[in-house]
């Protein structure tokens, strides 16, 4: 029944869900309108050898086949750069998709990752793709598209993971500039999390400065402020290297 050769998959791909939070100006001295977005690419009609491409024309996660000389993470890095011009970001594995029949070409595994990019970083990238073939979508819009393969499921799962990581780790820092104002942090958190104690201004502004993974920025011995988003100068903060650990059995943050 079982052959004496190993049972070999027909392919191993690495796919990447690239998230960013876009900021729309809301007027001068106002906090920005923030929106969680995902970067998708339109599958071209033909591959790089000129052959008809599968799932052509559909929107899909960037990614592609892993080579035997690299890991899926390395492949993700390479494909991300080739397809979207993005590089240098922390790539995080979150799942494997291997249901029989998920790809009609055969038994093809997908190793799925997510990446958080801050908006400024994305703007500075260069890509060979036509701009219309690579776009940022809001999550709702993305999930309404006719997506290639099982990428809808993968995106769904990716969102669940970044929500979890946003709540449990200092993931928010990847969406923010090095130095930021509390209302920016609050905005980032609220695009992903729905937590009354983050929403409540007084509570958040009182709590945030005490968080062990945040520190006020100083300059020449004085607190550094910014009035990017308000007339009142607001204190700048940065993340430090503290890795908070929570537990359901006790509610003190540990490092």
């Amino acid at each position: 029944m079982v052959s004496n050769k190993f049972i070999t998959p027909d392919g191993y791909t690495s796919d990447i869900a690239v998230f960013t939070i876009t900021s729309e100006s809301n007027g001068q001295y106002k906090p920005l309108k923030k929106n969680l977005k995902i970067m998708l690419i339109k599958r071209s009609d033909r591959d790089h050898e000129g052959k008809l491409n599968i799932e052509a024309g559909k929107w899909a996660l960037p990614g592609g086949f892993v080579r035997s000389s690299e890991t899926a993470i390395q492949a993700a890095e390479r494909k991300l750069y080739e397809e979207t011009g993005v590089s240098g970001l922390r790539i995080k594995h979150f799942g494997v998709y291997d249901s029989p029949g998920r790809d009609e070409r055969g038994w093809i595994l997908s190793n799925a990752h997510y990446v958080i990019a801050n908006e400024e970083f994305l703007k500075s990238r260069k890509t060979t793709k036509h701009a219309s073939d690579i776009q940022l979508f809001t999550i709702e819009d993305a999930l309404e598209l006719n997506l290639a393969f099982d990428h809808r499921q993968i995106i769904d799962d990716a969102i669940w993971f970044i929500k979890k990581d946003m709540a449990l780790t200092t993931l928010a820092k990847h969406f923010l500039p090095k130095e930021f104002v509390l209302s920016e942090l609050q905005g980032v958190l609220l695009t992903v999390l729905d937590d009354p104690s983050i929403k409540a201004d007084a509570a958040f502004f009182r709590k945030a400065p005490t968080l062990p993974f945040l520190e006020a920025v100083t300059e020449n011995g004085k607190l550094k402020k910014s009035n990017r988003y308000s007339k009142t100068p607001a204190q700048l903060y940065r993340f430090n290297d503290f890795q908070p650990i929570t537990s359901v059995y006790s509610n003190k943050l540990k490092g």
Copy 2:
């Protein structure tokens, strides 16, 4: 450079780290000595076709090749049953191991999972293996063995994941009987976590009954007690379906 065939891996395996917490009696009416252990199997000299096996004689995680008609999770279930007699447990994915060169037979991917089994459950299993070829090791002992492939790394990572899940989810319930006494829960948590507020008896006994995912067991309208581990009858608790959610930005448990 790239062939027109897909780049195909030479194999796709599913490996499972099976954890349990063993309890040694410490004397009558005493809490038990608990220890986190991992189940490993000794790779046999020849495979089921009689051919020489790779990494023969070394200790390894249970697992094996995934078939094209199943997912890695299903393969994990199947191999776990075939190799160790364990079935019916929740299998959780935690990583993929795909470094070139990790398996000298070729380009072989490992999809890694963990499983939590409670000790009583493990005792009741049946297996075709010789008892000496399948054993429970403490974590320290396991990491000192000469393990097959990169299974040392996989075990290391698995431990990290169960620590995290033990702290952040109600994972502890899989190590416990349906109804348990607070000192049992405390014992389970302490085998994996090092948290002063769990260690401190008074604090733990006061806090635990208020946790939203625990409830006191009643019988005929009365609180159900047990004196399994103490002369004083102790209240029995069970986990309910509450899924606690924590956050580093606020320290109220949400569901």
